[in-house]
């Protein structure tokens, strides 16, 4: 399994000299489990550059898994080049909603006055699917989606092959549902997608002293992210969804903080940065 980070910024794109090293594009992660297809996690602005790369590779079959439909996870889709290629098949999977189906919710961002084109006019073959309640299979990958603590219908994803596993929880506030350390795993939000994974991408938007002012916004402090990764016994933690106000130097300090919290280096916390490629066994 090869995992590539195309965007790891939270909330809003933040281009500029302060975000050169970690990047300013919002959430998008590419997961390749075989040579013929690709799984894309979220459609933040990072998906624009990924789309150009997929065109260059002539990838025709793409699966896009949306954790939720907040704009920072959807805003890049309109500029995803494969959408405008009639030879491409794009499956979009996302959380169900009690009010509108996934297609109608995504289509809102494609309609005037927000955008000049309608979703029905894009040349690619696009299909929409609510994530199933049970595990499902996409080629060589076994997938799982579980609802997690974040405002609105939001899921985390687990991608697993015969040899590797990835947990993806970019927007997650497990501390809102009680303490993390010492909590039985069956009462811990998202543990079914994160438990015992080789690599866990987890929300770590805030320093610990920022979190009390933002309780209920749906995101984690760095201490919560480390505590969560240790609780689910992830083998490696990639800190994700960087706060827009945190420039590169502040993010360096956030990583130092995470490492000090993980004193025995059991989850090896590292900051996600754009362009990072991780090969899982």
């Amino acid at each position: 399994m090869r995992v590539t980070i195309w965007g790891c910024r939270g909330s809003v794109p933040t281009p500029g000299p302060q975000t050169v090293r970690y990047g300013g594009n919002t959430s998008c992660v590419e997961v390749v489990v075989d040579d013929d297809s690709v799984i894309v996690l979220d459609a933040g602005t990072g998906i624009r550059a990924l789309g150009l790369e997929l065109q260059r590779r002539r990838t025709r079959r793409i699966r896009l898994l949306l954790t939720h439909l907040h704009l920072d996870h959807l805003e890049g889709l309109r500029f995803f080049a494969p959408l405008y290629d009639a030879e491409v098949t794009l499956e979009i999977w996302g959380p169900p909603s009690p009010t509108q189906n996934l297609r109608d919710r995504v289509a809102r961002s494609f309609s005037p006055p927000l955008f000049p084109l309608e979703l029905r006019d894009v040349p690619a073959t696009v299909s929409f699917h609510d994530v199933p309640r049970d595990d499902w299979q996409l080629d060589a990958a076994s997938l799982r989606a579980d609802l997690v603590v974040h405002p609105g219908p939001t899921v985390g994803f687990r991608v697993q092959t015969a040899t590797a596993s990835l947990g993806y929880l970019p927007d997650h506030e497990p501390a809102l549902a009680g303490s993390i350390a010492g909590r039985p795993l069956d009462w811990l939000s998202g543990s079914g997608v994160a438990c015992d994974v080789d690599l866990l991408l987890h929300d770590a938007q805030y320093f610990d002293d920022e979190y009390p002012e933002r309780i209920g916004w749906g995101h984690s402090s760095v201490a919560h992210a480390v505590s969560y990764a240790r609780a689910v016994e992830a083998r490696r933690l990639l800190l994700f969804h960087h706060e827009p106000y945190h420039g590169d130097d502040l993010l360096d300090r956030l990583e130092e903080s995470a490492r000090s919290l993980d004193a025995d280096a059991s989850v090896d916390p590292t900051l996600a940065r754009e362009g990072m490629v991780l090969e899982l066994p």
Partner: protein, 131 residues
């Protein structure tokens, strides 16, 4: 995938809601298993949830010998928790119960089903009102 799934998020959030309430509240899952009650319930039943553990809700309720105070006008003798499970609708009734410390108490019980989606029943919440 052999990894265990956690409780449904709705139950996780219901438990956290219960822990922050002074009103006695319990949570049961879609199989009818009592999975949590808060400290305010402990004051009524005389036993902590840690001591009780997960157990069939019906059996647990039966252990308090609940006796309806007012007869149901429709002759339905089921408890509100049973109605919430079986009919998946809200229900309310007054009872006398005998707690494990031997004290008889008069309570009202409101139970309602939890639906994560219109077709996804995930459990029941019941709230006790001291009278």
């Amino acid at each position: 995938m052999a990894v265990a799934r956690p409780k449904h998020l709705t139950l996780i959030l219901a438990r956290e809601f219960a822990t922050s309430l002074a009103t006695p509240m319990l949570v049961a899952d879609d199989l009818g298993i009592l999975v949590f009650y808060n400290e305010a319930v402990e004051e009524i039943v005389g036993r902590s949830f840690e001591e009780t553990g997960e157990t069939p809700l019906d059996d647990w309720m039966e252990s308090f010998d609940p006796r309806p105070i007012d007869p149901d006008p429709m002759g339905d003798e089921r408890r509100p928790t049973q109605i919430a499970f079986q009919d998946q609708r809200a229900s309310h009734r007054r009872f006398r119960v005998m707690s494990v410390d031997g004290v008889e108490r008069q309570i009202a019980l409101t139970a309602f089903p939890l639906f994560a989606h219109a077709d996804e029943f995930v459990g029941v919440v019941a709230i006790f009102w001291r009278e």
